[in-house]
Amino acid sequence: MSISFDELNNIQMDVLREIGNIGAGNAVTSLAKMIDKKVDMAVPEVKIMGFDKVSQILGGEEILVVGILLNVTGDLTGNMMFILDINAARKLVNILLGSNDETNLDFNELELSALKEIGNILTASYLSALAGLTNLKILPSVPELAIDMAGAILSVPAIEFGKVGDSVLYIETEFSEGITKVFGDFLLIPDVESYEVLLRALGVIE
């Protein structure tokens, strides 16, 4: 048996939202430590949407974004993606490496590995919060990074999801740092079977 997204009730949606909240909260705490600044976070949104809407979530299919993708194995299987607007990525790298040119959107080797490290730390803290909360074994792969159009980046997890359904469930989180607005989205995309595992571990279904 697997759960259809159309059948998720309000309580189950609330629980998924709360998972997003705690996972992202953990990640944001790690980020604040890393850049030594206070980071604010908006309440995560849980969205079920059709493929035609998928790439519009960041403001259009052609918007330049940084995508960090990893595979999840263990009790929970699927993908996790962290997406960052290109300007936000530049600001983050500048904060980390102490530079101040905000117009340069070409990243050199050092800056790229800094971005990768940010993605690594954020996704790992997100997943460790989720593992702690559910007692599930969650094993993340080493994340890979790509910089390209939002539609192209999002096509990778969307295709994986497309094998089983026509709509996608995104747990979307935005965060910001002071007047330097930095925001990004976490997309936790478990395989369809894993939703049941997740909701069962959280005691929402029998």
Partner: protein, 162 residues
Amino acid sequence: MDIEIIKVGMADLNSSRHPCMLTTLGLGSCVGVALYDSTSKVAGLAHVMLPSSEQAKNNSNIAKFADTAIVKLVDDMIKLGARKDRIVAKLAGGAQMFVFNQSSDLMRIGYRNVVASKEKLKLLNIPVISEDTGGNYGRTIELYSDDGRLMIKTIGFGIKQI
């Protein structure tokens, strides 16, 4: 002359009579299958996500799969006045956006989408006259009904026409 601009989304397809421009934005691992009949000037475009409807648990959306989408697109174009023996194909997309060490199915999906699209077109006797596939970058494509040209726009690799 004003031309109608028709946007084709992910796992979607559309076709139209002249004058029109069919476009799909931000193709990654998906494949854009552009079909054109130069006599009737009927154009069709599909944004294919997966190679085969037969391996899928849920195959209700026929526009999603190479095998079913191409058949539907050809049928739609014939209804608009195209003739099957005049239709030619151009392909774009099928990139590998992320380079993982292990070559899992997820990572090879772009390549498999291209292969499946070509197989289906061959079965239907529709020649692939040009393609811009593979690589590790996204593409926005535009198919024009006046001459069937396919414009391909990328972020780091400029614009080209096939």
